[in-house]
Symmetry: C2
Subunit: 210 residues, 2 copies
């Protein structure tokens, strides 16, 4: 039973098929994690023979690395777009922290955590992980630097603060991923932590309408 009897896939141009496979891998990663992005699983998801996936990708290590980059870079772009609409660094930083910690991106968090672990045995992925971390850090650092220039934040090393904040946020998200079921608000306390790092008065980063 349950031999899905896949029929022959409709012929596509190489570009279309490559995209279809990349999308299948992406959806799989978001739903079941990077570890589920396997040759056969991707093929099944794309409605295609396993050999075709192998044909379109140099190796699974590379496909996994690309899939990770696809998922994460989309997240970065999304956040950057949100930041653009805000008036100043203070609002941007507050929104940044709240949005990243709002729990609506647990699927992406899972991809991050698995990438950290898998990167140990997949050098292509490891390189991509570092690149995406740099991208994230850059976004945060830009906000902080702008705040310092505007005289709103106080720190001698915006880059270090950005790394620190990124690490804190990643850890809190990873924690929430494992402790599913607890309803603790992740965002309320960290604002005070960031205020401490940047010499701000208590409550300076609270949401405007709160």
């Amino acid at each position: 039973m349950s031999t899905p009897t896949r029929q022959r896939a409709t012929r596509m141009s190489p570009a279309e098929r490559a995209l279809s496979i990349a999308n299948a891998a992406r959806a799989l990663a978001l739903e079941e994690g990077l570890a589920a992005v396997t040759l056969r699983a991707v093929a099944a998801r794309a409605g295609v023979a396993p050999a075709l996936v192998a044909h379109y990708v140099p190796s699974m290590d590379v496909l996994i690395a690309r899939t990770f980059a696809s998922v994460v870079s989309a997240e970065v772009a999304e956040i950057e777009a949100l930041l653009d609409g805000l008036p100043g660094p203070r609002e941007q930083l507050g929104m940044l922290v709240r949005t990243i910690l709002d729990g609506s991106r647990d699927d992406v968090t899972l991809v991050w955590v698995e990438a950290w672990a898998l990167g140990r045995r997949n050098e292509t992925l490891a390189v991509e992980v570092r690149a995406q971390m740099d991208a994230w850090q850059g976004v945060i650092q830009d906000v902080i630097s702008a705040g310092v220039d505007a005289g709103e934040f106080e720190t001698e090393d915006p880059a270090a603060v950005a790394w620190q904040l990124l690490g804190m946020v990643d850890g809190l998200n990873a924690q929430a991923l494992v402790r599913w079921g607890d309803t603790t608000d992740r965002g309320s306390l960290i604002s005070h932590a960031v205020e401490g790092m940047l010499g701000l008065p208590r409550g300076a980063l609270d949401a405007p309408g709160a």
Copy 2:
């Protein structure tokens, strides 16, 4: 070449052999990560036939979960011993943060990160991960609560602050694990963050002799 030609293992009592296998798994986890704790790898490390490992352990999932618990609970015990020698909550909290972030436990951090990922597909491990997180949070919460009682810290929810601090520290360690090669001091900034969370003046958590 390189056929190790293992000779028959010297006979041990079940208790001794079980310990030997557990130690082999532990060493393997610390050196190469939880993902390297495989039936054959543990057997080779213990100088024993793979079947013997299977004989002494209900399943590899369980062995991995136990190995994780062994590694992490030792770390918790170590930190608790360190805390005992300090006079007050303020010194304890400062030391806690500095010690956890001093970079000397990257092997344990790797075990943590892999446990988060593997826990998705190993329920026994997932249960153990939550238990060990609870233990860690308990240690931190005790310090914070003592500080609040002593009038040194200011927070309405020591439990939440403890979770928050644990998440932050885990994230920073995980980040350092991936970005090996950077020499950024991980501990300097977080003190200010914690000060922000606990209503402390800047520098209150700095090392005494600094």
